[in-house]
């Protein structure tokens, strides 16, 4: 009987553990927001984190944006020319990038490039007891270490997503207009008549902002909550990447379902 109960007990303790962590993460999020004033007062710290998570992610974001755009241009042309509407290529590339691919892929890249680095940094600081030392010196580690990294990520994310989308549209233009030979004028004019600033561009920016908050929060929380050992830090990094990816995709579904509802 006890053998049968044991898996159930383990499942139960797992569930309780998850809910416990969720509650802790929520309280942590509130603490980060309450301490955000410090990030504004000590803006050089935030600036350094923008450099760390934004500027250093620039290359991977721009290059992947270009490649995604190139692929969209090729695949889009292949499909659209079957229906004899290859001049809609610009519309297709721009809408798929602005609404979905730009924010989502940029956030996934950001989570694996910058999120994992943030978790590793905070986790190692905890493992080497630097956070405790700060606490001893009456320096709040949340305000000094966590908040600048959080805001650095939140500020970088929409800018990176916008660059990703722009680069992707450039890539689509490169394949469609320069290589395949779709008419340049109709590529841009079809795109401009179909893309609405508030509906498409603005909602995309809003999405990337939400993803930025989610990824940055997960990264700093996993670092702060990691077990202070080498193994604990490596597990925390894995959790950051996995949880961020799941959170991004799930949030994307939720956001899309109430942002892009067909109007009629």
């Amino acid at each position: 009987m006890a053998d049968l109960l044991e898996p159930l007990c383990r499942l139960g303790s797992q569930v309780v553990e998850r809910i416990w962590r969720l509650g802790y993460a929520s309280r942590f999020f509130v603490a980060v927001l309450l301490n955000s004033g410090a990030a504004l007062r000590r803006y050089p710290l935030t600036l350094r984190e923008i450099w760390f998570s934004g500027v250093l992610s620039l290359i991977i974001i721009l290059v992947s944006g270009l490649f995604v755009g190139l692929v969209l241009g090729m695949q889009g042309y292949e499909i659209l020319q079957r229906y004899g509407s290859a001049e809609q290529l610009g519309t297709m590339v721009a809408l798929s990038l602005l609404r979905e691919l730009g924010p989502v892929v940029a956030a996934l890249l950001f989570a694996s490039r910058a999120g994992s680095a943030i978790t590793a940094e905070i986790g190692l600081m905890k493992a080497t007891e630097q956070l405790k030392a700060m606490d001893m010196m009456a320096v709040d580690p949340v305000a000094r270490v966590v908040v600048p990294r959080f805001w650095g990520g939140v500020i970088s994310m929409p800018l990176l997503a916008a660059m990703f989308s722009s680069m992707g549209i450039f890539g689509g233009w490169l394949i469609g207009v320069v290589v395949i030979g779709v008419d340049d004028g109709s590529f841009w004019s079809q795109m401009q008549s179909a893309v609405d600033f508030r509906y498409d561009v603005w909602n995309g920016i809003l999405k990337s902002l939400v993803f930025g908050v989610a990824v940055s929060l997960i990264a700093v929380f996993e670092g702060y909550d990691s077990a202070p050992t080498a193994e604990g830090v490596s597990r925390a990094i894995t959790r950051t990447v996995v949880t961020s990816a799941l959170a991004i995709l799930a949030l994307d579904f939720v956001l899309t379902s109430f942002m892009f509802r067909g109007t009629s």
Binding site: L47, W51, A94, L159, A162, M163, S166, W188, Q192
Partner: protein
């Protein structure tokens, strides 16, 4: 010294991000044209609006002069009441003719306004009485088939 190079990089990053946003807003999206500042409302009643949707364009001579703001069903006359927001720069004669067209073979449907010769102009809140419904493809096809069938029976 290292602080200033850092500032330079962050500044470069932020400038690039803002440039990307501006590119998306101005070159990719249509920031102007969709949102007309001043509009007035007209109404038109149609027997059948086909696939017309709210936010669809209102065109005259092919130029976008307004948007479809609302579509309602009138339970008394069993007609569709379409509200049009027309750009305040344009006025149309009283006997303007409103019809529903399709752009291209499978494109979106829009309201086309054809001005008449009346001296008096339509004012805000007026209703356009002369309308023509959307062409429903199924009706057209069945009409064609019935005609063909009728032709086939004639010689007997």
């Amino acid at each position: 010294m290292s602080r200033t190079t850092l500032d330079l990089w962050v500044g470069f990053f932020v400038a690039l991000g803002i440039a990307a946003l501006l590119f998306l807003a101005l070159k990719v999206g249509s920031f102007t044209g969709v949102h007309m500042d001043q509009t007035y409302q007209l109404q038109a009643k149609f027997d059948n609006i086909g696939g017309l949707k709210a936010r669809g364009p209102v065109k005259s001579a092919g130029v976008v002069v307004g948007r479809v703001s609302d579509i309602r069903f009138d339970p008394e006359t069993y007609e569709a009441v379409v509200s049009l927001s027309i750009d305040a720069r344009y006025t149309f004669p009283k006997d303007t003719f409103a019809s529903i067209y399709t752009s291209g073979l499978l494109g979106d449907q829009y309201v086309g306004l054809e001005p008449g010769g009346d001296e008096r102009k339509l004012a805000a809140g007026d209703t356009i009485f002369k309308t023509q419904s959307a062409v429903v493809l199924e009706k057209l096809v069945s009409q064609f088939l019935f005609n063909k069938a009728a032709e086939g029976q004639d010689p007997k």
